[in-house]
Symmetry: C2
Subunit: 334 residues, 2 copies
C-alpha cells in the first residue's frame, strides 16, 4: 500500500491541509498554485482500480475539483457519499449531473466570469471572419501560393458588412451581454432569447428562438447546455434564419443540431458558420472542410493566460470558501 | 475610325453628357449606374495605341475616373493638358502623382468615408485572429483532419487576450478613429501617432513612432501612404515594439518595411502580424506562409456591397458636383 500512502496521505507537517479529489491532472500552473493549500487525491497515480481507490477514500472526500470536461455522473456521485462540493473549471457544467447533485444537496461552482471577455472577443472575431472571409482567404493564400488573385476579386461577391446586422443572441448571461456590448460598437442591432426577459436591457426579447431567427441576420449561442437548450438551434430555426444567415457557436456543440447544420451549409440553406465547439469533440465534421463561409476552431475561445489566471482565482477562492464555511464565490444557480 | 466613333462619341440624344476618361473598365454595377449620366472614354476598346488615343481626345478631357490602383503618373497627366479633376475610387491616393496634380491645380477626390467602417471592422478581426490563432487553427483543422487535437491544447501557450492591450494607431483619421472606438469596447488602451496632435481626443499622442511602439503591444497602420509615411514601421520601430508585439496593416504595403517585417517574424523579434496589404500585391512573401502567428488576406478589407454602394455615391457625387460647378464632396486635403 505504499502507493496509497504516497497519493492519499501527505508528508508530515501538511496533514492539516483540506482534502480534494481530482479526476485527472491539473494544469501545471494550477498544480503549482494549489498544491500548498490543498491535499489532492489522484486516482490515476494509484495502482488500485479507480472504483477501489474511490471506495478506499470515499469517507474522506467532501470536495471534488473537476478540471476539464471529465464527466461527473450519477455513478461517480454515488461512490462519494460524503461529497458536498463539485468545483468545475468551466463556464458550462453540462458534464456534471446537476440534478443528482441537487437531490443530494451537493453545491456546484463554475468558472464564473473568468472566461467572459475572451469568449465574447472570440465570438465577435468569428463573426467578422465569416462575413469577410478572413480565414478562408488566409487558407487560400497558404494553400495556393501561386494563385494569389489580386485584390481579393475572387471573394468580392460574397463579402458582407458587419454594421447594421441584426444579431440574435441566445442566452443573454454574462458572455451574451459582453458580446452585445462589443457588437454595439460596430453598429449592430441586438436581439435576444433567454429563459426570461431581462428588465435591465433594452434589446428586443424573443421567447421563441424560431421567431428570433426569423428577425436575425446572425445567431450567436452563448447559453449553457441543458436539457432545455439541447439542439436549441434545430432545422426549423435554421430555415427561419435563412440562406444569408450566419450561426456562431461559442457555447457547446450540442446547442446546435450539427447534422442539420452540416446539411444546411452544404445545401446553401444558411449563409455561413463560425464554430468553436462541436458535437463530438475533437472530431470536426469533414463536410465543413474547405468551405469559404465556414470558420473552424478547436474549443479555444477561453484559452488565454489571463483567463486561466482568472479561473485559478475562482477555483482557489471557491475551495477556500468551502473549507472555511464562507459563501461560495460562483455557485451555479437554477 | 468606326471604332473611335463607337468609343468616343455617343448615340444621338446623349451628346450633352459630360465626358469622363477611364483607364480600365468600371465595376459592372458602377457602369450600370453611371453610364446614363456620363459619356466614358475607354482607351482599351480603341484600336489606337493608348498614347495616340489620348492625344486624339486630350483636348476634351476635363475629368478622369481612376478605378482601382492604376497609376496616374506625370506622363499621363502631361498628356491631358485640360485635365481638372481626378476621381479616385480608393481611400489612399498613393498611385496618383499628387504633387504634379497640385502644381497643375488638378483636384483629386478619394473614397471619403465609404470604406471607413469596413476597414475598421477588418482591422479588429485581424487583431483578434492573430492574438487567438483563429485563422491558424482553421488552417490546421482544414489541412490535417486526422490531427484534431482536443481542446486546442497545442495552441494554448501562445493565445493572448485582447482586453488591456495598448494599441498604437498610426494615423488617427476616420479609419483610425473608427478602429479606436471599436477597440474601446474591448477594453483596450488607445495610443496614437499622427502628423499633429488631435485636440478633440483624449488618447495619448506620440510625435515619434518609435516611442509609440515602445509603449504599445499592438501597432495598427491606418494612415495614407505618402513620402513621409513610406516605411513608417521600419526595423527600429519593430525592435521597439518587441518580441510580443503585433503589427496589423490595413493601409498600404509600403507603410511597413516588408523585408524587415519578414525577418522580424522569422526570428521572433516581433510577436505576430495581420496583413491585408503587401509591398508587391498580389505577391505575398512566401516566408510568411504557415506561421501560426500570421494572418494573410488579399487587400479585401473594403470589399463589401455596402462599401461599394457608398463608393458609387461618392464617385457620382464628385463627378456631378464638378460638372455643375459645385463644391467637390471628398477633395483630398494636404
Amino acid at each position: 500500500m505504499s502507493v496509497e500512502r504516497h497519493t492519499a496521505e501527505t508528508p508530515a507537517g501538511e496533514r492539516e491541509l483540506p482534502l480534494v479529489l481530482l479526476l485527472r491532472p491539473l494544469f501545471p500552473r494550477f498544480h503549482v498554485a494549489l498544491t500548498h493549500k490543498f491535499r489532492f487525491l489522484k486516482p490515476w497515480e494509484s495502482q488500485l482500480p479507480p472504483d477501489e481507490f474511490l471506495a478506499a477514500h470515499a469517507g474522506a472526500v467532501r470536495a471534488l475539483l473537476c478540471s476539464g470536461p471529465t464527466p461527473v455522473d450519477a455513478e461517480l456521485l454515488a461512490s462519494l457519499p460524503r461529497l458536498e462540493l463539485v468545483v468545475a473549471s468551466s463556464a458550462g457544467v453540462n458534464h456534471i449531473d446537476v440534478a443528482a447533485c441537487r437531490r443530494r444537496g451537493i453545491a456546484i461552482t463554475n468558472a464564473g466570469n473568468a472566461f467572459t471577455d475572451d469568449v465574447a472577443d472570440f465570438a465577435v472575431a468569428l463573426l467578422i471572419d465569416v462575413l469577410r472571409k478572413i480565414s478562408a482567404s488566409d487558407r487560400a493564400i497558404n494553400a495556393l501560393p501561386d494563385i494569389c488573385n489580386s485584390y481579393g476579386v475572387g471573394h468580392v461577391a460574397n463579402l458582407d458588412k458587419l454594421g447594421g446586422k441584426r444579431v440574435g443572441i441566445i442566452g443573454l448571461g454574462s458572455i451574451g451581454s459582453a458580446v452585445a456590448r462589443r457588437l454595439g460598437a460596430f453598429g449592430c442591432t441586438i436581439l435576444y432569447h433567454s429563459k426570461r426577459k431581462k428588465p435591465s436591457v433594452s434589446y428586443k426579447f424573443f421567447s421563441n428562438v424560431t421567431d428570433l431567427a426569423a428577425e436575425s441576420d446572425v445567431l450567436i449561442t452563448t447559453c449553457a447546455l441543458t436539457d432545455e437548450t439541447h439542439h436549441i438551434i434545430d432545422k426549423e430555426v435554421m430555415l427561419a434564419l435563412g440562406k444569408d444567415g450566419i450561426i456562431i457557436n461559442v457555447g457547446r456543440g450540442a446547442l446546435v443540431d450539427e447534422k442539420e447544420l452540416v446539411r444546411c451549409l452544404m445545401e446553401g440553406e444558411i449563409g455561413g458558420a463560425g464554430l468553436d465547439v462541436f458535437k463530438n469533440e475533437p472530431v470536426v465534421p469533414q463536410e465543413l472542410f474547405h468551405m469559404d463561409n465556414v470558420v473552424l476552431t478547436h474549443h479555444q475561445a477561453v484559452f488565454t493566460p489571463e483567463s486561466f489566471d482568472g479561473l485559478l482565482e475562482v477555483v482557489m477562492g471557491n475551495l477556500e470558501a468551502f473549507f472555511s464555511n464562507k459563501p461560495l464565490l460562483t455557485p451555479i444557480s437554477e
